[in-house]
């Protein structure tokens, strides 16, 4: 009896889940098939129909010849701009976050909880609030419209999150470990390097995915603080879609959007299984 009921319930649950997954994936499907059709087929055909023949010309156009405003070089230069911004910004904010978290969790000093509270507050500051003062600051430092400036903004903004991640991960590690290492003769950095970093893989993955996604997908900072030669891909994508020469080229727009989204997708696919594991690792011990 119960087995039949169980099976029924199970079937219902899976049907629902698969249904939701399909709804969620539908836009991606439409993007993909549209990017593979030529413009004639899009105008005449069905939105969800498969393309009659595979046509990659929209992809290559999106990559290296579509117009983003007055330039017509495709997304490629902006893609590399984004890479140049993302890699140092993710690395720096993650490393600084790890150090901060280690100190706040294991080397508590007078006022360290206050400091942590203040840092947490940073998580809740909306982007828009800091736009103007940050622009002033960057100009004053001579870093306006530069990759370095943009990296700096992302690092500062990301530190609050990365610190939170690492602090919560390290706080679950018993302090006796630090004490044992101190008696063994290890100093502050030796303990960090030899004992804490080797057991931080899950939280590193979480932080890297989080930061990579945040920074790669960022549009607001990118559009405000970048100059003509340093715009990230999100800004270029916006320009590409808004620049129309003749009719709207939906296939190129779709291909460009997928290109812009690919790196984050890739990062998640490669390291995704650590993501869930790492997010819960701090909360549930053992």
């Amino acid at each position: 009896m119960s087995t039949i009921n169980q099976r029924l319930g199970r079937t219902l649950i899976y049907t629902l889940l698969i249904g939701f997954a399909l709804i969620y994936l539908a836009p991606l499907y439409v993007m993909l098939v549209t990017s593979l059709k030529d413009i004639e087929e899009i105008r005449s055909g069905n939105l969800i129909a498969l393309p009659e023949h595979l046509n990659f010309s929209a992809w290559s156009k999106a990559w290296n010849s579509a117009c983003t405003g007055s330039e017509c070089e495709g997304l490629a230069p902006y893609f590399w701009n984004s890479v140049r911004i993302v890699i140092p910004a993710v690395m720096l904010s993650t490393i600084i976050g790890a150090c901060n978290g280690y100190v706040l969790a294991q080397w508590q000093f007078k006022g360290s909880n206050m400091l942590f509270g203040a840092l947490l507050f940073g998580c809740f500051i909306p982007f828009q609030v800091i736009l103007l003062p940050m622009a002033k600051l960057l100009a004053w430092l001579g870093l306006a419209n530069t990759v370095v400036g943009l990296v700096g903004v992302h690092v500062v903004y990301g530190i609050t999150f990365t610190t939170l991640f690492f602090r919560n991960y390290y706080v679950a590690i018993p302090n006796e470990l630090v004490r044992a290492a101190r008696l063994d003769g290890a100093g502050f950095f030796a303990i960090f390097w030899r004992i804490f970093l080797p057991m931080s893989t899950p939280i590193f993955v979480v932080t890297v995915i989080w930061q990579f996604t945040q920074i790669w997908n960022d549009f607001l900072f990118g559009v405000v603080y970048s100059g003509p030669g340093t715009q990230p891909i999100t800004v270029a994508l916006n320009n590409l879609v808004n620049t129309s020469v003749g009719g709207k080229e939906y296939n190129v727009d779709m291909a460009a959007a997928i290109i812009a989204a690919l790196p984050t997708l890739l990062v998640y696919l490669v390291a995704g299984k650590y993501f869930v594991r790492g997010l819960t690792a701090g909360a549930v011990k053992g």
């Binding site: 004490r179 063994d184 290890a186 057991m199």
Partner: protein, 365 residues
């Protein structure tokens, strides 16, 4: 070399005084146990010795060196933690090597030390494993191995056996004692288990509320406790405490309907104190069934009404009342079984080693 001298050491966290003036002199090679109920400051004192906690005032010497404000790593001590605190990402071998590498020992010396230690603790077959692959007892051994490798002047053990099951705890206890015999290094050992304290220690410091209540050999602590707290804390089953009226230097004990005058060794002290009542402290093994050859001036025979008995195997504890207060007697299993049926038993009380306490302050008389 490994002697430890603690002078008027205090430790406060803000307004709270955790240690209130500790004075201890521990000889080189001695096995010292710090024992007391939780919150008595014993672990804090150990952390002060290790240098993991700053001392608020007072001085600390190891050997002839004043180490009051010396960095933990330069104190030449090693510590075994309650949670073992093994480095989770390192193999057993790397755990043991770590301290030596940090101190930049030459490579071949590290190799041979690790081998020796592993052999001594019989963990050679575990060297390539990670701590998560070890049982509780094995982790305990590795933690000791890590401490041993550096051959320090002093070992500190912070409740090292409390995470083990009962049987393993007894085994490891013996092993630690053997190890101490063999190495002859000073050991300071924190525990709340009075059995561990009695069996392991050369000397015991019983602590309560940040004060050392008594510092002496297990024999002294057990037979000659400084106050009621120490007498109560040490010994299992616990000592009996009965408030008795003083009559011409003897104590009045009412058991059942009978009234007995019990003779005690320090009659004069009781008279001098001028107290009307005192607390009589008697260990359960001093209240037994009559023994044929017991002859001393301190033996009293009486009847005891038995409310309940607890057989422990080698002997049976019988619960009765004196002066309306509960006492435990230690009977042989046969006598105990009969006492349970009869509801009363003939007992002999040996007050030759009885101790007396002030009824209000609990101080020894």
């Amino acid at each position: 070399m490994g002697a430890i001298t603690i002078q008027e050491l205090t430790k406060s966290y803000g307004e709270t005084n955790v240690l209130k003036g500790i004075d201890l002199a521990i000889d080189d090679g001695e096995f010292l146990i710090l024992v007391g109920p939780s919150g008595c400051g014993k672990s804090t004192l150990m952390n002060c010795i290790a240098g993991l906690e700053d001392i608020t005032s007072g001085e600390l010497f190891i050997g002839d060196d004043n180490v009051t404000s010396v960095n933990p790593k330069d104190r030449d001590i090693a510590m075994v933690f309650q949670s073992y605190a093994l480095y989770p990402t390192m193999t057993v071998e790397r755990n043991i090597r770590f301290g030596l590498e940090m101190r930049k020992y030459p490579k071949d010396e590290i190799e041979s030390t690790v081998k020796d230690v592993a052999k001594l603790l019989q963990i050679e077959h575990l060297l390539d494993r990670k701590p998560s692959q070890l049982s509780g007892g094995q982790r305990q051994r590795v933690a000791m191995g890590r401490a041993l490798a550096r051959s320090p002047r002093v070992f500190l053990f912070d409740e090292p056996l409390s995470n083990l099951d009962a049987k393993l705890r007894v085994e490891m206890r013996t092993e630690i004692k053997k190890l101490h015999k063999r190495l002859g290094t000073t050991i300071v050992y924190v525990t709340h288990d009075q059995v561990e304290a009695m069996t392991l220690a050369d000397r015991i410091a019983v602590m309560k509320d940040g004060i050392v209540q008594q510092f002496g050999t297990p024999y002294e602590i057990y037979n000659d406790p400084a106050n009621r707290f120490v007498a109560d804390f040490m010994g299992s089953p616990a000592m009996n405490f009965v408030e008795c009226i003083v009559f011409e230097g003897n104590l009045i004990v009412e058991s059942g309907n009978q009234r007995h005058e019990v003779v005690i060794p320090n009659t004069q002290a009781v008279i001098d104190s001028g107290l009307e009542t005192v607390i009589l402290g008697l260990r359960p093994e001093m209240i037994t069934e009559p023994k044929p050859h017991a002859e001393s001036g301190y033996i009293t025979q009486m009847q005891l009404g038995v409310q309940v008995t607890e057989p422990t195997g080698p002997d049976t504890l019988a619960f009765g009342e004196w002066n309306g207060q509960e006492i435990q007697a230690r009977l042989s299993p046969e006598v105990g079984a009969q006492a349970e049926i009869d509801g009363e038993v003939q007992i002999q009380v040996d007050t030759g080693k009885a101790v007396l306490f002030h009824p209000q302050t609990g101080a020894r008389i």
